[in-house]
Subunit: 490 residues, 2 copies
Amino acid sequence: MKIKMSAAVALMILCLFLGAGGTYWAVGDTMKEKAAAYDKLASSQDSTATEQADNGEDAALQFQKLQQVYNSIEANYVEDVSGQELMDGAIQGMVGSLEDDFSAYMDVESSQQLMESLESSFEGIGAEVSMMDGRVTIVSPIKDSPAEKEGLMPNDKIISVDGEPLDGLSLQEAVNKIRGEKGSVVTLEILRAGSSETVDVEVTRDTIPIETVYSRTETVDGKAIGVIEITSFAEETAADFAAQLEALEAEDIEGLVIDVRGNPGGYLQSVVDIAGEIIPKDDPFLQEENRNGEKTPYFTDLTDAKPYPIVGLIDRGSASASEILAGALKENAGYELVGESSFGKGTVQKVIPLEDGSSLKLTMQKWLTPDGNWIHEKGIEPTIPVEQPAYYYTHPLAIEEPLKQDSTGSAIENAQLMLKGLGFDPGRTDGYFSTETTSAVKAFQQENNIEASGELTAETGELLQQSLVEKIRSQEGDKQLDKALDVVSQ
Amino acid sequence: MKIKMSAAVALMILCLFLGAGGTYWAVGDTMKEKAAAYDKLASSQDSTATEQADNGEDAALQFQKLQQVYNSIEANYVEDVSGQELMDGAIQGMVGSLEDDFSAYMDVESSQQLMESLESSFEGIGAEVSMMDGRVTIVSPIKDSPAEKEGLMPNDKIISVDGEPLDGLSLQEAVNKIRGEKGSVVTLEILRAGSSETVDVEVTRDTIPIETVYSRTETVDGKAIGVIEITSFAEETAADFAAQLEALEAEDIEGLVIDVRGNPGGYLQSVVDIAGEIIPKDDPFLQEENRNGEKTPYFTDLTDAKPYPIVGLIDRGSASASEILAGALKENAGYELVGESSFGKGTVQKVIPLEDGSSLKLTMQKWLTPDGNWIHEKGIEPTIPVEQPAYYYTHPLAIEEPLKQDSTGSAIENAQLMLKGLGFDPGRTDGYFSTETTSAVKAFQQENNIEASGELTAETGELLQQSLVEKIRSQEGDKQLDKALDVVSQ
């Protein structure tokens, strides 16, 4: 499943895959192993509040107060209340009081989604879907998947699943209906572009691998350059990276670009293993710091640096494990980093399962770069800053009433940036709908064979977005990648 | 203390007085009486979670889970944590899970502020203050107050209090320093406009009444019309209302306007008593509904309707108790309501003190209008809708860099509305800085004797706001009041 997307595209297409958004301990733990670890962790602490040593008396009073509030609400609130919801709220509020964006109480569903997002396969039909015009739409079937074998095609709309209409469901809810155990059969009612009647397609679900590493070679000035994209640090990512790096090296690459743009992170162990492939062992590639300020340096086993230059590619969507890798490339190995300042997440979480299937995602460590910098809320600076063209940073257009010349607003500003990115000069890009903007809109409409009114209609807005998504996906105009290839081949 | 302000003015001046923002049971309860009531309430419920009858087992499990999360955080979080803050967060989260904007856990300070906001006096020096240019500034000393007796004047800046500088404090923090027990002496370091040196002024604090009822007569078409403004429903409001109504009637008024614009509510008993003065007893003027859907109608003792017409004045800032009064005027007595749809708060809260001085503000009832309508999130519709001129609804201007012709943005839109309100036609009010807008800015600058650059500078923005506040305070252009006077004198 191809899920690598720029930030701009990500806004427009809600993908199946939920970003990991953090770096986690405990690679490959099953839920069962985690539960055992938790029991061990909890047993030393599972005393009641009144028995606690420090913080003890205060805590006991506070628990009593919580109990009083609970009782008052249950007895007196204007509506019937659910005890479960009150306590879920309490736990969320307790975790929220840490004011840490990365610690969270996750209910059963969120816990499962997080675990799934870090697995390297799922069971389903194997199609990337998105919501378009309110319909669940196939973006592309995954190669060799059941979806491809049964002939599902891009732009097919899924109307119902096993007879149940998808109307009104969120994309995630629809996906949950489409997914299911390997070997089970699901019947999809499909509406294909150009047809007014639906057809039923039976698909036997299977295990679908989720790929997180993509590689290819590019030839720059006669040199073979390897490009590896890592889209997240999931269970199999490090093994895939090692295999694909070996394949590239068999092709005698003379340089390597490692692209972690838009990569939200994943397992700590995954990035540790990847660092082991490319970062020399002489200096730490990472340090961990616990709450007492004690630092633990991490080293690789790699004796020699690679015989070819390496360049890292980062952007503001590169977070957590991506930043660990970028920091190692830059500060340990002295490689260049091309792109933009990264996200800035300098903490490591652990997922602590709770007995009922919910879990606590808790920040337990800071990590520092090889030189001991804590990049939290700062990010890693590229050594060679390169911004993408402005159209990479546009927001989705939501046009209800047509927008006309001599009006103003942020939707117009966004449309102007899109027009400019597509080669239709709108004159200005500050949100004022000038005569030049009207001309640009007309030219775009003519090229797309719709009425050349010069007004920004909903239809024009959708076409603008589609054209832009296509342009960004084609990597034509990817100035960061171009620069990285340029630098690594010098 | 004059605290009645339009919504527009309220945005610009942060006043001493914190709005009540709700309707509360229990008029005049002292904290002690409330604590006793609470003990009674709590004693019947003060069992541990495991002993509860319904919801019991679930709740016990949930309390255990909360305890586990508490222990995990305390043992493992990356920073040291305060048990008190964790539990405060839990209580806030529990109350937050009700998704009721009007139920809240209030810490000791918030609890005290709420109680003070509903008292009819406070102990201090008796001056309305606001933050202007980062300085605590006297807006006006209250009549006969210690502040007035010692000669404090509008626009005096308070630099320090008892030798402690106020730099960097919030307005509320500064107010807390200035307030104090009756009979105590406070030394204020004052900087007066036109002087570069400060003077020390000693003020002996006293009890300062907070007025919530203002009345006057206006003559319309030769008729004496009474106008009563109610700014909140505090402890003494109903008694003040009765006294001032009697005084107006002694002047043989031929009509009465009751203005509850911007009035956020207060004690339920207060509005019940005020209704008793003007709403006839034949039909309910209010109904209460508990969580079982049981309705309790409220009646007054008033045998006959007033011998003169009454008109209510409401706006989107009229909330809660104000809406109870407006609903009674409209649906019980058939009086006209002039203005805008009111805020829409159809619930009644009770403040339940907790043992440590914090408290729980909890929604315990709905209230319905005489005809049984629940106006929550809808508001009461005026029978005669009248909007204020657009400049009443502008937002504060925050101009950092001067704004110039041919630029766009919401700050420009706001400035255009302000210019228009002050009689300087900006040509358009959509946020595009046109040549006409430049001319209007220049004309305004000339009239205010500052450089006529035609650019929106920070200084120009501040002057615009000041001029607008003055205009709104003068009630010149108060179209709602004009209409109400017109209707009541027909």
